[in-house]
Each structure stands twice: as C-alpha cells, then as structure tokens.
Symmetry: C2
Subunit: 113 residues, 2 copies
Amino acid sequence: MRIGDLAAATGASARSLRYYEEQGLLASERSSGGQRHYPATAVERVALIQSLLAAGLSSSTIHDVLPCITEEAIRTPWLAERLRAELGRVETQLDSLHRTRDILAGLVEQYAV
Amino acid sequence: MRIGDLAAATGASARSLRYYEEQGLLASERSSGGQRHYPATAVERVALIQSLLAAGLSSSTIHDVLPCITEEAIRTPWLAERLRAELGRVETQLDSLHRTRDILAGLVEQYAV
DNA sequence: GTAAAACCTAACATTGACGTCAAGGGCAAG
DNA sequence: CTTGCCCTTGACGTCAATGTTAGGTTTTAC
C-alpha cells in the first residue's frame, strides 16, 4: 500500500500519515525510489492512532504508550503505569463529557419549540 | 465580584474570562474606573462555558447556542436545531471516547505486570 | 496620601495537529 | 519516452484558546 491508499482507507490525509511517522507512531518501508509502503495492518494502526488522538492524547503520549515500531519499552512497569494514568484521564474526561451531554440535553429540552 | 475573584472561583484565568467576554459568552458590568464586575451567577455561567469548551464546542458555537447576553436568539427553531446538532456531535464523541476507553483498558490489561 | 495589589488594553507568543505550497523525483500506461 | 499522477522533503501558514509582556490606571490597605 502506498500513502494515498492508506489515506483513502483511513480517512487521514497523507500529511497526517507523514506526521504520524515523524512522531514515531507509524512505520513504513521505502521503495527504491524513496516512496512509503505500508502493510495492510497499518490501516488498523492508524485507526488506533486516530482514536487515541480523538481522546485527547498527544502524539508524544501515544508514542510513549504504544509499544510501536521499536519494541523497546514493552512490559516495563513504567509503561503499565503510564497506561493506567492515561486510562484514568480518559475516564475522567468521559465523566465530564457525560455531564456536558446531560447539560446540552437539558438545553435542548428547554428550548425545543 | 471582580475578575480575580471570578478566576479564583472558577479556575479560569483572568485572561480566559476576558476572552470569553470578547467572544460574547460572558457579560460584565464596569465600575466607574472601567473594571469588570460580575454577579455571583457568573460562576455558574463560566462553569457551563468551560464544560462546553471541554466538550469540543468552539466559542463561536457556544455563542450561537447559549442564549447569552443578548437574548435575541431565544427559542427560534434554528436555535433548537443547532442545539440538537451539537448534542448529536457530543453523543457521537461520547461513543467514540467510550470505545477508546475500552481499547486503553485492554492495553492496560495486556501490559499489566 | 501613598504604596501595593489588582486591574486595564493592546499586542505578540505559544502549542499541536495539521493544511498548503514549491520544486522536484518515481512509476505505470500508451 | 513521455504524459500524468502520485510521491518526496522542507518550509511556512492556520486556528483556537490561552500565556505573556508592556505600560498605564484603579482600587484597597495602611
């Protein structure tokens, strides 16, 4: 898969995919001419990255948390701790968003004609 | 209440409060010397603004959606529609965040030592 | 009345995840 | 081989909420 295919398959722009690579979130092989090639599994990985970005994790946090290209950090207690911390953050955010949803729903009810 | 008090009461910076006013989200009376004064209800209003900002609504959207200082837009069908649209957005985001939470929880389980 | 603390406006700086543009190179089809 | 499309790197632009700084004014405390 070339970058345009991956972009089409994931909805991310080619610019974003290059950015993910630059941030160490996504690996690619290069053709002899220097063009990026991706395995089919990259689609799933990009989806994961997008999901975590949408959850408010920074690319640097994702880099820390995903045992990515370099598998160095796997199963260190530090990684487990970091994961738990981010999970906590997301759950807090989930609670807060839940309350906001209720507020908005209240407004909708109040202003529905 | 002056701006410092409101900042202390809400956790927002004075800069942010002025910005909210600039964006038409928050009203203030001025003293003879030009300093802002807020009613006690402003605390609640700022909390609402923060909540909506945290949910990813832009200040311009909040301005549209909150029947704010100028009460012009109240109860127009358009407002009701806009509110429903934003509620939909937030609910979508909530779903997505929920899934992301599960993914993260899975990772935690996987990498827990 | 005076000093300190809080406030004012105005403007520029920051951050992060991209968009966009320029100048060029790779690659399949005709 | 060339046409046309996709790709490359690099650099600069954007956007939104907020930080920061500067230079001056108002309010509060003594």
